[in-house]
Symmetry: C2
Subunit: 652 residues, 2 copies
């Protein structure tokens, strides 16, 4: 009570909407740029509570998690509800190489420039990376070089446990599905009923979640004694068709041996075995729910609407039917609060949610963006990142994330690299296992010019949504000035409002000042944001519009399984959900080998699945791996803890 | 830097070794006692940072995790190393009913009495409960009634993520085992070598963990180019025998369908399937390591010594051989710090580690106890709890935990209930699904007197270790004064230094003041602590001593698998580890139906397993379930989140 009063007083005394009174860190970049770990460790972050105060958060809104992470309460939104939103900037990219083209790094560098160098209120919102690949083959996701979220080991490891909470919630649902099938298979209606509605102190009562199930069954009774045998049977039997289960178990570990498994082989399960699988946790629908939710209430509702299977009669079975939806909300009650960290230069960063970018929408959370937009205020900037290339992450950012959040984007920053553009021009395949060929490390104007076709198409894709585009050319040491100028010129010709070279990886925010200025100008330009499709269109139409307008396909082809599912989901009432394409990010088409701007192709739709709680249908274009594996020599060979200092060594 | 200086100043100004300047909360207990959740919610806990200051911790030692939890840095031990330890009290119990006899509640009530009512520095150290059973069938583990750790929902849910960290670390090992078997099976020696020791910028180098493996193989070379083909083969092939794998995957979820599974059935694993299982996370050896470790350095070492399988030639394969041990330490770097919470009356509580009490030793962490003993100071009290009855949890507390910690226990508090004693006297079976029979709810002196045999034997068990015993009779409303007095008298006759009735469940610390005074007196009595057996004795001898002296068995019987394993482990050099019996807690014998003091039995040893990193062998007496299941109506039916207040409803 006392601390509430104190913090309210402090707030009234110190809070001034407007420019933050914030201390930035002066960077002194070293050449050559050391490892990400060394750069991260060379800086002492501010105590995170101090940063929270600098940006006007009051103490009741800040839950510290150690010295460098904090969870920010959703009550912030309520306090600042009259405050107008800042400018909303989304960072996306051209079709990338498997190495990535630096979207996270650019998002962080841009915020460092806007804040520490141009004196604007600027907030970065990025995804939390899966911990699995940290020990497998992928690099970190905290940005890189002198544009990083720090401390990077905290960012890349447990953070504040949000992904662990998702693992727990997801697997509680999975355990509940199989246990329920087992108990229904081994008990009579009466036995099930007397256990589901037990005598407590001589009385039977329905729990709230059971009353809601009765209502969905149109059984409008509150007294357990009054149900007919037929009603009891309907109530106690979910009658799940095991072949219809779409809910998988998850782990935040790269464990390839769990891709296909048989479960239930202990004698205690009496022969009720079935084939199942584990996905990596970030592929869980609960992650997509976390990323798309607008409030605690909305999350509770979405968690209850998740469809896990169908009954043998084709009725969708939800987590609410399983009685587990309330427990899921309880498990996720802290995960819903965005995590505050900081950049190397001391700017605020929200790290929150990290859904898959193919079977889900690949964007950080709506709530982080919403809070950040209020905290920066009318003249401030929120820079958020959309996964994969503009054809995927940005399209989903607009058509799914902005549709559910109601937020209006102001500028698209499209990141391009000379390396990726040369690949699109016909250069050899790029992978993390190969030494880059000379075509990439030496000037090659014709290859580059040809490859700019991909940049042109992705600029066009952004412009379809009516939002101004700024191209950020993320410069590498080997790029020549002529190459960089060519890309800038071609980008402008293709309709980008501006295009600038950036060197934030090597120079920190200073290297992104030109980009930041371009973004400031673009944010003043008129934006006529519109969705790509109307949600009420038939499912097939929505898929076709994305395929033709964004990917450049001639048409789509529905394979039989997809056709069946579209009929089923439409019948079940899920036909009006937005579409989340599960397509490779390595090509505008479905074939990762086709670089540049593929034309004349028919996009095959193999299957369609539903994330009803998150709120989208996801057509599968090809096979998506949802469980990575460990290579012969995983990253963990280099990782260790210094037992004296407690420092982490060898992480990237 | 500045905050370091400030906190050092504050420390020097305010820190006085000796009595804490601590504000306790005044309880006003209500009759009948409301649900645990309601009692917990009726109290507003102190901000945890305030409690930390009150007990003399300095700000650099305290990492807040929200308002009511904090992690305490191991540097506290270094700062206070000259400070003498307080009195070390272990709470154990008679052989329990499946409902439990209130050990946690007694530990909390005793600390509330010692601190808030007798003005002593007193610290409780308890185990973190598994989250799985929270949603299954078990009640909470935060104590109960007016003797609780608060907020109880934080205690029973994620806490600060320690168990999640164990899940992640454990499963990284499991993924590494199967991935390694797969890569060895599908690649030549040369291919494996060139991947394990890759060319980086034209040079091949061994990582540190690889150099240590070479040394264990007696290959004293540092230059990868100089290994012979034979040495390369030895180095790259762990040659794991899949049938020898003892390392299981874990989840903190009650998922019975994962008890026996077949993994590796995806085509990408090319037919390398095998039978495997998931255990609940608290059964992981990493949990036992966390509970038994003395420092970061010691933990790093133990995590590397864990044996996961044998090679086809019978050589033990460790996590260090897999190259994953450093990553495990990194994943566990925060989990090693004890979690500070508080009782309803505002006393400090450490919640840290919660290993299984059958296949592991069932005690909270050594580090929490060690820090607490320094923080309470010479005249203070640390009350720690040992799982199950005295024959299991207490025996392991002395012979395993105290052996590794080097700490000297001062008093054993042995908890008994009239209910359990009547069961031992021949009363009917007690279970959570049944209404208690009249024999329990009405006075029955003969049944009770007969059942006190079990109390007598457990007192004797404590006295074997040379430590004074105080019996705490945890009173229920239905117990008569005559019954309570009988137990008190018989306990004293059996050699307890004292025996007192307690009502802390209904009354809070006030109800345990008599117990606290008895404990104070007992802590002044001479203690002649000794271990039960010498570690250097042969494995069979150590098992026999425990079985005969503690359980009252005539002898032990080794089944063939156990005999083989004892030979194997002795040969591998693990014969001198202490013994951790995996026996039912529901009887002094191996048969849970045998109540009271069974005699004339031969204890069968079915198998023996090793937790080499944690540091014990565990003989299996019967089959231990390491993965609970969900009943027809799991607890989650009642659990929900209030989306407006954010409060958790229906949790116990």
């Amino acid at each position: 009570m006392q601390s509430t009063v104190e913090s309210a007083q402090r707030f009234l005394e110190n809070y001034q909407p407007g420019k933050w009174n914030i201390q930035y860190r002066l960077l002194t970049p070293v050449t050559p740029v050391p490892s990400d770990m060394e750069v991260s460790r060379s800086c002492t972050p501010k105590p995170i509570g101090e940063l929270a105060r600098e940006i006007g958060l009051i103490s009741d809104e800040v839950e510290l998690y150690g010295q460098c992470k904090a969870k920010i309460s959703l009550s912030t939104l309520k306090r600042l509800k009259e405050q107008p939103d800042g400018k909303y900037i989304v960072v996306t990219g051209i079709t990338p190489t498997p190495l990535g083209e630096g979207k996270s790094t650019t998002a962080i560098g841009l915020v460092q420039a806007l804040g520490a160098h141009l004196g604007q209120n600027a907030f970065a919102c990025v995804r939390q990376p899966s911990q699995g690949p940290t020990f497998g083959i992928k690099g970190g996701a905290a940005g890189g070089g002198y544009s990083q979220v720090v401390p990077m080991e905290e960012f890349n490891l447990h953070l504040t446990g949000d992904i662990h909470a998702i693992t727990a919630a997801n697997n509680l649902v999975a355990a509940a599905i199989d246990a329920r099938i087992f108990h229904e298979a081994t008990q009579s209606d009466q036995a099930l009923y007397s256990r589901l509605v037990p005598l407590v102190d001589g009385v039977r009562n329905f729990s709230d979640v059971q009353i809601r199930r009765l209502q969905r069954l149109h059984i409008m009774k509150m007294d357990p004694a009054t149900l007919t045998n037929d009603e009891i049977s309907k109530f106690v039997r979910l009658d799940i068709d095991p072949d219809s289960i779409t809910w998988q178990r998850v782990l935040d570990t790269n464990d390839r041996f769990l891709r296909t498994i048989t479960i239930g082989q202990s004698p205690s399960e009496k022969g009720y075995t079935r084939t199942a699988q584990f996905d990596i946790t970030v592929a869980s629908e609960i992650m997509a729910v976390l990323a798309l939710t607008n409030s605690l209430e909305d999350m509770r509702e979405r968690l209850g609407k998740m469809v896990v299977a169908s009954s043998k009669k084709g009725v969708p079975i939800t987590t609410e039917d399983l009685g587990v939806s309330g427990a899921l909300a309880v498990l996720m009650k802290d995960a819903i609060k965005p995590n505050l960290m900081q950049t190397l230069e001391g700017n605020p960063v929200f790290v929150h949610a990290g859904p898959f970018a193919n079977i889900a929408h690949g964007n950080s959370s709506v709530l982080a963006d919403k809070i950040a937009l209020k905290v920066v205020g009318k003249d401030g900037f929120v820079v958020t990142e959309a996964g994969f290339g503009a054809d995927i992450g940005m399209e989903k950012f607009f058509d799914i994330k902005c549709r559910y959040s109601g937020l209006q984007p102001h500028v698209v920053v499209l990141v391009a690299t000379i390396r990726a553009l040369k690949m699109h021009g016909g250069g050899p395949t790029v992978s993390c296992f190969m030494v880059l060929s000379k075509q990439f490390t030496e000037s090659n104007i014709p290859l580059l010019e040809k490859g700019c076709s991909n940049l042109r198409k992705q600029i066009e894709n952004a412009r379809i949504f009516g939002v101004p585009v700024v191209v950020a050319v993320n410069a590498f040491k080997s790029d020549t000035e002529a190459e960089l100028q060519l890309v800038v010129r071609l980008a402008k010709e293709a309709g980008a409002l501006d295009a600038v070279k950036c060197t934030h990886w090597a120079d920190g925010g200073k290297g992104a000042v030109a980009l930041a200025e371009a973004v400031q100008r673009a944010s003043q330009a008129p934006s006529h944001f519109q969705f790509l499709y109307d949600m009420e269109l038939p499912v097939v139409e929505k898929i076709r519009i994305i395929a033709q307008k964004i990917y450049g396909a001639n048409d789509i082809e529905l394979l039989p399984e997809a056709e069946l599912k579209i009929i089923q989901y439409t019948k079940q009432g899920f036909g009006n959900l937005p579409i989340c394409m599960a397509k490779t990010h390595l090509s505008l088409s479905h074939n990762p080998e086709q670089k540049g701007v593929p034309t004349g192709f028919i996009l095959p739709i193999r299957d369609v699945r539903a994330s009803v709680g998150a709120g989208f249908l996801y057509p599968l274009v090809g096979t998506m791996s949802t469980m990575p594996g460990l290579p012969t020599r995983p990253c963990f060979y280099d990782i260790d803890l210094d037992p004296v200092t407690g420092e982490v060594n060898g992480l990237f």
